[in-house]
């Protein structure tokens, strides 16, 4: 009787494992090569062998339009900025992730400015949008392993079918794919005007600028990123894009230029005064809206440094 009980308990447990694994596989197939929220573009960008890769945090994600580079320079471009992630290690991990799936691009344009943070040890991570990336947590591919580690997904999320999908409430979005067209081409441009009630005009975000002590560490880490690119025969250039005038700190933005120059990395200062002085170009203090991006592109297309670099 006991053996019979054990047999049936084990059989039923196996049935449950089979069902949830099958469901996990079905969901994986459903979202394969698609985005669920737009942020999770690790798969979609893996199909694009680009000439230019745009790299950085949300300020890359929202400011650098691949379409502009495609059209103006006739170079296939992809934006792999990580919305909410400004630590230089996450940015490098994202580049490595891209390179494991694609051939090396000719150029990397890194949106490097005072918001970029250095990292201090390998476990440095930031969990913003973790839920959006949790679709990659279960049995991560070799290419995605490092980023999955960066987001600190635990063993249950990595090895138990449906655990991450259920925990981060992705089921509905994975099935309907209703939000998959949110950020086409990995470019999250904001089409809205600035709602100053929602995002007040102040310089609070200055507290996120890297400190003077961190500058030397950042310099070293930027050097390492450049060396990594050189090994892959990629030319790296940095760019700093506009912030609204209340957030602008000339000394600080000059410091990022100095860091680049001391590493012999070309840098484009696209923090144009004419854009940063007009709130109509912004979505909030540190992000441009669609109009601002278009205004910046108008000026960028005549930026000699960029033209020479991409020749």
């Amino acid at each position: 009787m006991i053996i019979n009980f054990l047999k049936k308990t084990v059989s039923f447990s196996i049935l449950i494992v089979v069902i949830i694994t099958t469901l996990q596989i079905l969901i994986t197939f459903r979202i394969k090569d698609k985005t669920v929220f737009g942020h999770d573009n690790w798969d979609t960008t893996s199909n694009i062998d680009a000439d230019i890769v745009l790299l950085g945090s949300s300020r890359c994600w929202m400011h650098l339009d691949p379409g502009f580079f495609n059209k103006k320079f006739n170079l296939k471009t992809v934006n792999i900025g990580m919305n909410g992630h400004s630590k230089i290690n996450s940015i490098q991990l994202r580049l490595e992730n891209y390179l494991m799936k694609n051939k090396s691009p000719k150029f990397v344009i890194f949106s490097f400015d005072p918001f970029i943070e250095p990292y201090f040890n390998k476990s440095d991570s930031n969990l913003i949008n973790k839920d959006k990336y949790s679709r990659f947590a279960f049995m991560p591919t070799k290419e995605n392993e490092a980023l999955v580690e960066y987001f600190k997904f635990n063993n249950a999320e990595k090895y138990i079918p449906l655990y991450a999908i259920f925990k981060y409430k992705l089921l509905g979005d994975c099935v309907t794919l209703n939000n998959s067209n949110l950020f086409p081409e990995g470019f999250g441009m904001n089409d809205e005007v600035w709602n100053t009630t929602k995002s007040p005009v102040n310089d609070e975000l200055k507290k996120y600028y890297f400190t003077d002590n961190e500058a030397s560490i950042l310099k070293k880490q930027l050097y390492n990123l450049n060396e990594f690119c050189k090994k892959k025969e990629i030319k790296l250039i940095c760019i700093q894009t506009p912030v609204y005038k209340v957030l602008y700190d000339k000394k600080k933005f000059q410091q990022t230029i100095s860091i680049c120059e001391s590493n012999n990395i070309e840098v484009i200062d696209a923090n144009y005064e004419i854009i940063r002085n007009n709130s109509i170009n912004f979505y909030n203090t540190n992000h441009l809206n669609k109009k601002g991006v278009n205004e910046m592109n108008k000026l960028l297309k005549n930026e000699q440094k960029l033209i020479n670099f991409l020749k």
Binding site: L15, I19, F166, K169
Partner: protein
């Protein structure tokens, strides 16, 4: 350690395995295992109160023996009252002292006397109301010579602290549970499978129904002043489903778990929301507490004997005490009182024992009259739950006034209403299954037993996966009755 936690999912199979596969031939060892695991289970809540549980157990064990050994009535009475006073004393200090101190100070302030009450602000030891009542029933039964005291301390301690019932019941009787602990238990396949089925259904009730409804009920009750009467009605409904799913779900898990060890506990719920009158509701809701009060309070007070007035008085006493048992707050007392008023017409008309069988027995659907009776009873119950759920009588009154305002005729809206649709679907599914299985011990006890295995297991798999899904979706609330 919550029943719906990973810790319990690890703990239970280990104890089950040891119980049936390692020490299955030795009853003494099985009981020791049950006792040790129960104390471990309790210590996981708060090890500091373990001494209180042990002391309470030892007190009743000791006084029980002393009562039997007493050569005269005076000595017997001494040991009896010693046990009663200490047991109720602990309950009074931990659960009611602050309430009385504050209420007394408030009463004095009405006469212009200002007193700063000395409050203890101590944590309520989990399960104290339940294990104290276990002990009380044992001592009272010995005093009344219904049972003989248990000489074996381990067996008695298992009766008091058996982990499935330790923290929230059912409130057991020595006459029912002790004999089961004393006899050798054999592995019974059907009983164990039945137990697993009941655990599954309990988890469904708790995780899918109660915890999901709790999200909405909490939101609405917390921000009641922001919402219209129609939304507040929804809030009261969500709470009604929550408390039923929560407590009856807990009871199902407790009964199912006990069955895994070959032990049957007292039934605690019998589909109360299908009751046709309030008297029937109280025969189907928290049965072990209702019957405890009936046997140890209502009957000693004279019960149904002595005319209608005396019956009414006794009924009111029972309901007020029952309300007070739930917690030291006027809201519980008014909840009890309200239920007493509900039952009053039935007592006066001598119709409180009309509906003894389950509704529409042997039929698929109830008659129109039955539907009407069920609806009326349900509405009355939901109304009373508003007091039970509110933090103060004032808030409950505000809630009720808003329900009776013009805003009740607006479309309900609350933060998160969009996510309530799947929950409403599962609540409807839940009550459909409850209706189908209402003639059994628990709803899914016999559902699917005649089906082919593939369909039956398909049904169970559906429940398991739904539970798995909702275990992340809900707020993973503690069981409501743990606070009592």
């Amino acid at each position: 350690m919550l029943f719906n936690s990973i810790n319990f999912a690890i703990f239970l199979p280990i104890i089950f395995f040891l119980y049936w596969f390692v020490i299955n031939k030795n009853l003494k060892l099985q009981n020791i295992l049950l006792l040790v695991s129960s104390y471990f289970f309790y210590a996981c809540w708060d090890w500091r109160f373990l001494f209180l549980l042990f002391f309470s157990t030892f007190l009743d064990y000791f006084t029980g023996i002393k009562m039997q050994e007493s050569s005269n009535q005076k000595s017997k009475q001494f040991w009896f009252w010693l046990s009663i006073i200490i047991n109720l004393g602990f309950l009074g200090v931990f659960k009611y002292y602050d309430f009385f101190a504050i209420s007394f100070a408030e009463a004095l302030s009405n006469f212009g006397i200002k007193v700063n009450p000395l409050t203890l602000n101590i944590i309520l030891p989990v399960g104290i109301s339940f294990y104290t009542f276990h002990g009380l029933s044992y001592v009272i039964d010995i005093y009344n010579e219904k049972i003989k005291p248990e000489k074996n301390f381990v067996e008695y301690a298992v009766f008091v602290s058996f982990f499935p019932l330790l923290v929230a019941g059912p409130i057991e009787r020595a006459t029912h549970l002790l004999p089961q602990i004393k006899v050798k238990r054999e592995f019974n396949y059907s009983k164990v499978v039945d137990g697993m089925r009941q655990i599954l259904w309990g988890l469904f009730k708790k995780i899918v129904i109660a915890d999901s409804c709790a999200n909405f009920a909490n939101e609405i009750f917390k921000n009641q002043h922001d919402y219209s009467g129609s939304t507040l009605i929804l809030g009261a409904l969500f709470f009604s489903f929550q408390i039923y799913g929560d407590f009856s779900g807990y009871s199902d898990i407790a009964l199912g778990t006990a069955r895994l060890f070959g032990i049957d506990l007292l039934k605690n719920f019998a589909f109360p929301y299908f009751s046709r009158d309030i008297a029937e509701f109280w025969r189907r809701w928290h049965i072990s507490l209702s019957s405890w009060f009936k046997d140890y309070l209502y009957v000693p007070l004279g019960g149904s004997e002595g005319g209608t007035l005396k019956r009414i008085r006794n009924t009111f006493i029972i309901f007020i005490v029952s309300g007070f048992w739930h917690g030291a707050n006027w809201t519980f007392i008014i909840w009890g009182l309200l239920n007493a008023f509900y039952i009053l017409p039935l007592i006066i008309c001598k119709k409180n024992r009309t509906n003894l069988d389950i509704v529409a027995k042997g039929k698929k659907l109830p008659s129109l009259q039955e539907i009407f009776s069920i609806l009326i009873t349900f509405i009355l119950t939901v109304f009373a739950w508003i007091f039970f759920r509110s933090e103060s009588v004032g808030l409950a009154m505000d809630y009720i006034f808003e329900i009776f305002s013009i805003s009740t005729f607006t479309i309900p809206y609350f933060s998160g209403i969009g996510t309530s649709l799947p929950v409403i679907f599962f609540v409807l599914l839940f009550f459909t299954i409850e209706w189908i299985g209402r003639e059994n011990e628990f709803a899914i006890q016999k559902i699917g037993l005649q089906w082919k295995r593939v369909f039956r297991w398909g049904f169970y798999s559906f429940l398991v996966i739904t539970i798995y899904y909702f275990s992340f979706n809900s707020s993973n609330q503690q069981f409501i009755y743990f606070q009592f």
